[in-house]
Symmetry: C2
Subunit: 211 residues, 2 copies
DNA sequence: TAGATTGTTAATCGATTAACAATC
DNA sequence: TAGATTGTTAATCGATTAACAATC
């Protein structure tokens, strides 16, 4: 139960806190102060305390924060205790890499199905999930009831794919296509990932160094 | 030649401008006003004009912006006219997907080599580049002189890999490992991509909907 | 208790938005 | 010329940082 509207800047920092606290826990830290954590994460202690206090009081004056307890709390805030069922649409290079590379459980999801149109790969397995003909998706959704999807389809297929997924009850999209989805219009949630944009900023920084 | 220090917020928006202008150009737009562009990109016209004016005067009063000229200019600002030679370290699932999926030329890079330690995949080709034994990297660097690298190695190998790459003259890193590289310390540039963090924010938004 | 560090309010800084004169 | 839209300054808003009383 969050106090007020949480700003996007704070939300974007939460997963990073969660990761760093995981590292600390792994390295045997029991407690940590905002000052120490700030140093490790290249932030300010003030910011860290402000961020945490959006959600409650997790520390103890004179002591600091209990690492594993704080991590647990942030995990709950992020919804990592419930595993949202997710499907992958498009098992090309990128889709396959994501499905096999990513630990869905640790970020709040459970991959329950993989779909493609390409007959040549249908039936093959990625991890322990077989690639299924996308024509069987409607039936699949009736029983498995996934609510989120990874979009790894060609740009030309995005519009139709999204429309049919929305009709099948999918509400959240992790979108790797070059077409941006807008969360506002429908009651859908979209996280648009533009790997190209990320690399482009690297180009900027490399080249702007030369004044 | 940028006027002053450009804020990070602006830099992060530049690739998106570039993409949208590309779409507009493809769709036959000759000119566009900041108001129109703002609507398409869900920004404000003010912000767009402010952003562009960090770098110069690209528009014309009473007319708007010439789409292809503006795009060309932003491309130059982003350094997309020079193709920085880049190597991929680690040809697992993700590395392979990036190497084959991404149009490096259009984001200012040229993929010139792919390296791995796994004898089983050395010699195989991704696109038209053969996977090479990483032991041959020092020789390769002497002639090809790459200055940037994609890091797709296991977390355990990151530290040593980065150290040797820096010694070989690599200065810019597109980092997909879970270990963050800090741009400050050395004169290196790092773009840390945390796909898990991106998905985690989706989990937050799905779950925080339920108040 | 004294020392440390949080939670929280106040001050500052930067980014976004609004307004408008310049000008095509 | 009149209308449109930029470039740019000023106002607002939000996010970050600093300060400090509360308290463990």
């Amino acid at each position: 139960m969050s106090k007020n509207a949480i700003s996007n800047s704070v939300i974007r920092r939460l997963p990073r806190y969660y990761r760093f606290l995981g590292e600390l826990e792994k390295n045997g830290y029991d407690k940590i102060s905002s000052r120490e954590l700030a140093e490790k994460m290249s932030l300010t202690a003030s910011q860290i305390r402000q961020d945490f206090n959006c959600f409650g009081e997790f520390g103890q004056q004179g002591y600091g924060y209990n690492v594993s307890e704080l991590r647990r709390q942030i995990g709950i805030i992020l919804g990592l205790d419930s595993k949202t069922p997710m499907i992958l649409i498009g098992a090309g290079n990128l889709g396959t890499a994501l499905a096999s590379h990513l630990d869905f459980g640790s970020v709040g999801f459970r991959l329950v199905g993989i779909f493609d149109t390409n007959k040549e790969i249908i039936g093959k397995k990625i991890g322990d999930i077989a690639i299924t003909d996308i024509e069987r998706l409607p039936d699949f959704c009736k029983t498995a009831k996934p609510v989120s999807a990874i979009l790894c389809v060609p740009d030309t297929a995005v519009e139709k794919t999204v429309e049919s997924l929305v009709n099948l009850g999918i509400r959240a999209f992790w979108n790797f296509t070059h077409c941006e989805l807008h969360s506002d219009s429908e009651d859908i949630i979209a996280e648009n990932v533009h790997l190209g944009d990320s690399l482009t900023t690297l180009s900027y920084r490399i080249n702007s160094e030369k004044h």
